[in-house]
Symmetry: C2
Subunit: 352 residues, 2 copies
């Protein structure tokens, strides 16, 4: 039993750290997975603390392979993304030693010396997921809806169609990266005007409410994935969310009924779905992919992916089903494997 | 000379306190004016400290009439706007005693007992300005572009056309209140996509940059009216602003030339102007006002008002010129009288 090989996969985002542990014996199993709050715009301490905690709780030692991908270098705590990659790597080295594999769009690497490599290490987590899925499924579109962003990744003939060196900026151009997620997106960035009581109303451009409030009211957001404090620092209940949404159109909670606030949340959800559809179609057109392609769904906003698939009448499957081709996942970790898809993917890539 | 009557006019916003001192002897003169940072979403301490400071520096005593208007009750530090009005009034009472006049859309009042009155005291500062201007100019549109919001106020035949009891919500419906200003508005709330290098690019929906960054780069924002820290807490230089704007489209400062960042800032300014024009036209249509009416311009974003007037080929004048009909303003206080228009207005209303 000491022949078991273990791999720790880390996906270091700006807002969340996602970590998984794979064990490979006769078969490969997902033996642990977690998602933790790491607001990197406040500094690196929360990341370091959580990594030390994982190291201890999951018994990570010299025999464990550590593989890492990141998007957290975008945080404005860093002067630029290069500095972000450097500072984040330093934290990982300090916790796990220097034998770390980083995922870059041209594969796993241990060398951080060349600035080219650093560049391709930044924001490559989407590519890790794409890379493993392209080995398992010939043609599909991965729709990963996270807390902050949505990735739309085209795969055809077992190839990731996005050019390897695509940056975030380029993917923001093609529609493959949409900066909307189910937790952290400010409501004032969704739309300039909203419909309320059949009237158009200008939105108050303050950080009064976030997408967490929408999906708390629509019942889509599970408590275990509801990590961040509310915008006003107050209670994360449905009433709290109604109060915050009310402010977005210059009203107080008592100015309307609960069903009206839920209606407003549903309107907002509809606007987000429309934007995702626009971007998805842009990607389909750009790569000349058929309209009824298979969608592979992942991320904490997987429910939005399902609704997209229904609206577009596309076949779909959750990414945990796809991982199942090569990975045994305990039922209680199924959801985590979908949310931590990039960390599962880099760990799998380093094993397969 | 001890017959001089002094009036202190206070406009308590969510982000700024604006205070003016009028002295009435043979003529009425604006003898002092200031604008101070009061982030009410962090609590009431900054407001209280600044008021105590003004009381001391401007020698405010029992002989000074204190008149007050507010919009700060909207801050999410308060549970609802009623609580906001109560808490803000308590601070004013504690600093200046109980003989305070509040501006409501039905005139100055000293009674805060009736909840109806409290309701009409909330967010009435626009009405104070409208009320005094309607006495001085028969027909016009006041365009007050502030740090956070823009008010568009219609006046015809010496009457304020907006119904007296209009709430913020109603004015957000008619286009009379637009939640965009020249300092605090998050860039991610301006537009979902931007044009950069002739390509459409999705915007990163994070609070990486604000309208301060736009107007610092276009050269419109004067340093003395540039109050708030930058979004990343870093330097408020042009380079700092370029760096922050770069992040809004997933780039670093070094990814483009200075003139490209300035171009991006100009694009954003154009989008803001377009939104203001849409709302202005909505107001004109709603009240059936002619397209070439006189615009009275005020607020720290008065430069945007001037550009609007030019684009729409409307005659315009700065509000300090209008105030000059009844008020003598020292040259060094001219700009402050334009930015603190509601506090000048309530002070004038209590004197005239």
């Amino acid at each position: 039993m000491y022949n078991t090989k273990t791999t720790l996969g880390l996906d270091i985002g700006g807002a969340h750290l996602k970590a998984v542990l794979l064990k490979k014996d006769k078969e490969t199993i997902l033996s642990n997975a977690t998602i933790l709050r790491t607001p990197l715009w406040q500094g690196l301490k929360s990341l370091e603390d959580h990594l030390l905690d994982i190291k201890k709780k999951w018994y990570i030692n010299g025999g464990t392979k550590v593989v890492c991908t990141m998007t957290g270098e975008m945080a404005d705590f860093f002067d630029n993304r290069q500095e972000g990659v450097n500072r984040i790597s330093q934290v990982i080295f300090s916790v796990f030693g220097s034998k770390i594999y980083f995922y870059s769009t041209s594969g796993l690497t241990r060398s951080l010396h060349s600035s080219l490599r650093k560049k391709i290490i930044a924001s490559a987590n989407w590519h890790a997921t794409a890379s493993i899925i392209s080995k398992l499924i010939p043609s599909c579109l991965i729709i990963d809806v996270g807390s902050t962003t949505t990735d739309i990744i085209p795969i055809r003939d077992h190839r990731v169609l996005t050019p390897e060196k695509s940056s975030d900026h380029q993917r923001l151009q093609t529609g493959e990266l949409v900066y909307v997620g189910i937790n952290r997106t400010p409501i004032c960035s969704i739309a300039n005007t909203l419909i309320f009581r059949a009237s158009t109303v200008n939105v108050t451009r303050e950080f009064f409410a976030s997408t967490s409030d929408i999906f708390r009211l629509t019942g889509d957001l599970k408590e275990k994935f509801d990590f961040y404090p509310a915008c006003d620092g107050k209670i994360k209940s449905k009433t709290g969310s109604q109060k915050r949404l009310a402010r977005m159109i210059g009203l107080d909670l008592s100015d309307a009924k609960e069903k009206e606030w839920i209606g407003l949340a549903r309107n907002l959800k509809g606007i987000i779905l429309e934007e995702l559809i626009i971007n998805l179609k842009k990607v389909l057109n750009h790569y000349r992919i058929s309209n009824n392609c298979l969608l592979i769904l992942s991320g904490s906003g997987i429910f939005l992916g399902s609704e997209l698939a229904k609206k577009l009448q596309c076949p779909s499957q959750n990414i945990s089903e796809t991982f199942n081709h090569v990975l045994s996942i305990k039922p209680e970790l199924k959801e985590f494997s979908e949310i931590c898809a990039p960390s599962v993917s880099i760990a799998l890539l380093s094993i397969l």
